[in-house]
Amino acid sequence: MNPVNYLYLASLLFAIGATGVLIRRNAIVVFMCIELMLNACNLALVAFSRMHGNLDGQIIAFFTMVVAAAEVVVGLAIIVSLFRSRHSASVDDASLMKL
């Protein structure tokens, strides 16, 4: 299969993730959409790694997973504490500060 197709797929996934961030209210879902974007990146990296015949892309993909995991730790902690204070995980509810 043409390696470019992987790239298209990655872009599509990335776009889906980005759209999700924009349209979903629930912080958890938004966060998962971001994870989706990261995974789209991983796909692209791995595809390019294969194209170029070196391992750099794959290594980065591993790092990305670790980073994503770390983000989950931090992100969930924050989201959960917000949820406990507000009894809502809606991103839109968190709009005290504006203008």
Partner: protein
């Protein structure tokens, strides 16, 4: 300046150290033959000592949290942090004295980090800013004592729900979130790496390493917890969102060049690359990969510096975060992010400058103007400073655009000047308090000059420095940046910069008017008398502001010497 001490981590062809390595396509060339021998990676520990010290101290700090009794944690953590930052700074100075920033600059840790002038200069700046910020973190005299315990700006127990019984219990028990110190150290560690990162992976990791602790720190305010948490959520989601873009940009650039090393990409971009594999030949022809990738990486960095239109997190996060954290973020993050941006543009993408310069022109202009204009109508001092930081990001971008050695050194100088003013200003904000904690609404600052002339005067000095009035560091920095921009052919940018400076002056002056010429309100805020920690922070801010304003030559020399990137 070619890479001299570069070793590959996973080599397959037995080449251990070769300039030709880059031609093969990167750090981790694909394994084609059975492994004969594994070379251990070569890490120049002395060269990356500053980072190691800080990160090591941060890890130690975690252990302290685990094993040291609650009572003494604060002192141990503070001591540890200060020692770590000071010794890291000493290490930076030692490296600089070794000529690592000038003649001996080079690449360390298998090409992952650059040890050159800008890196050392910015690391030094970040460490000093971090040190001063840690002082403000450690301040425990501003709030009245709660149940006989001194309290700082951070929540007693981050996990407890605001206003709940568990929170009250935590307060009563005298809990304090001493985790902020290791968190800050982690963030500083990441920031040290960020401007020194010499490949895209290190860049990404460094970004995450300093961002994640900051997200947490934002959520830890003792007062106004809801706003604090909201700031953290916004910062986190948007930060993660932007880093996804950055990562996608990295992927595309990697796809284009087949390598993530800065020098390697630059070679491909410039077309000076040798040994073009067929795959590389195919992707090299695809400029879209390069351009889109570069644009996405730029976007990730512009988010961190708070450039328009990626600035929207700034006011909310600056307002909601605990003020010491805001000061730290505003100063250190900006330094680190601009360092990374500089390196990216000057090392990786100089071949593309005819593409990115116009775009950055646009960003700089919009950033300067929007920051200045929107700030006019702000009513909260922290938000006002946030917009001011946006405008300043625009000014610094003007220097970045110069694409001359002067451009680099002027940005370095500006960052040094700006970071101390910022920390100082936010430190002053922590002093002005009423029953609800910090009195950040501007109307409460009315007549401050009558009640506390000294505090008001100090704040006025910072504001004047922000406004770029001569004899303050702000002026020297602005002049350096604008001069570089003008010499780099961006005269129009200078004019826009000057206009937005004028607009910006309006709101700085508005605050001064308010402090000095308005009648004090009867139920106005009080000015807390801080401990020597905050006093030091403010004092250092004032001193740097005036020294850099009156006799900036030494620091300009320093920035000039440091103004060359290794490649």
């Amino acid at each position: 300046m070619s890479a001299t001490a570069v070793h590959s981590l996973w080599t397959t062809d037995g080449l251990s150290a070769s300039d030709g390595l880059w031609a093969h396509g990167g750090l981790w060339a694909a394994a084609a033959e059975p492994v004969a021998k594994i070379d251990s990676p070569q890490i120049e520990y002395s060269l990356i000592a500053p980072t190691l010290i800080v990160i090591g101290a941060a890890v130690l700090g975690i252990l302290v949290e685990a094993f040291v009794p609650r009572r003494s944690r604060y002192y141990v953590q503070l001591f540890l942090s200060v020692v770590a930052l000071v010794s890291a700074f000493a290490a930076v100075v030692a490296l600089a004295a070794d000529g690592r920033g000038t003649t001996e600059s080079g690449i360390a840790a298998m090409g992952a980090l650059a040890v050159d002038g800008p890196a050392l200069f910015l690391q030094g700046t970040i460490l000093l800013a971090g040190l001063v910020s840690v002082f403000t973190f450690a301040e425990r005299r501003l709030d009245p004592e709660a149940h006989g315990n001194r309290v700082d700006s951070f929540a007693a127990q981050a996990a407890s729900v605001p206003g709940s019984e568990s929170e009250q219990a935590a307060v009563k028990a005298g809990f304090t979130t001493t985790e902020v110190f290791p968190l800050a150290l982690f963030a500083i560690g990441g920031m040290l790496v960020f401007p020194a990162a010499n490949d895209l992976l290190t860049l990404f990791i460094a970004l995450e390493v300093f961002s994640l602790p900051l997200y947490l720190l934002c959520a830890l305010a003792r007062r106004k917890r809801l706003m604090s948490q909201e700031a953290a959520v916004k910062y986190f989601l948007l930060g993660a969102f932007s880093s996804a873009f950055l990562l996608f940009g990295i992927a595309l650039l990697y796809g284009y060049a087949g390598t993530v090393s800065y020098a390697g990409i630059a070679d491909v971009v410039d077309g000076t690359v040798q040994n073009v594999t067929p795959a590389l030949a195919g992707t090299m022809g695809n400029d879209a990969l390069l351009l889109v990738g570069a644009a996405l990486i730029l976007m990730g960095l512009l988010f961190k510096v708070g450039a328009v239109p990626f600035h929207m997190w700034t006011p909310d996060v600056y307002q909601g975060a605990p003020t010491p954290v805001t000061g730290f973020m505003a100063a250190a993050t900006k330094v680190a992010a601009f360092g990374a941006l500089l390196r990216l543009l000057y090392v990786v993408l100089p071949g593309l400058r005819w593409d990115w310069r116009p775009v950055m022109w646009g960003v700089a202009i919009v950033t300067m103007l929007l920051g200045a204009i929107v700030a006019i109508t702000q009513t909260d001092i922290k938000r006002l400073l946030a917009y001011s930081s946006i405008a300043h990001a625009g000014f610094i971008l003007a220097g970045v655009i110069a694409t001359t050695p002067d451009g680099i050194s002027s940005v370095l100088f500006y960052l040094l000047a700006y970071s101390f003013v910022t920390i100082g200003a936010f430190a002053v904000v922590t002093l002005v308090r009423d029953a609800g904690g910090e009195a950040t609404h501007l109307s409460k600052w009315a007549g401050l000059g009558r009640r506390s002339p000294l505090v008001a005067a100090v704040f006025a000095v910072f504001l004047l420095a922000f406004a770029g009035i001569p004899l303050t560091s702000g002026f020297a920095g602005k002049f350096a940046v604008f001069k570089a921009a003008a010499e780099g052919g961006a005269g129009a940018l200078v004019v826009v910069g000057v206009i937005s400076s004028a607009i910006a002056a309006f709101f700085y002056i508005r605050v001064i008017v308010l402090m000095f010429f308005s009648e004090p309100k009867p139920e106005g805020p009080t000015v807390a008398v801080p401990s020597p920690l905050t006093m030091t922070a403010i004092g250092v801010g004032v001193a740097v502001t005036l020294v850099l304003g009156l006799a900036p030559q030494y620091f300009l020399d320093l920035a000039n010497q440091a103004g060359v990137f290794v490649r």
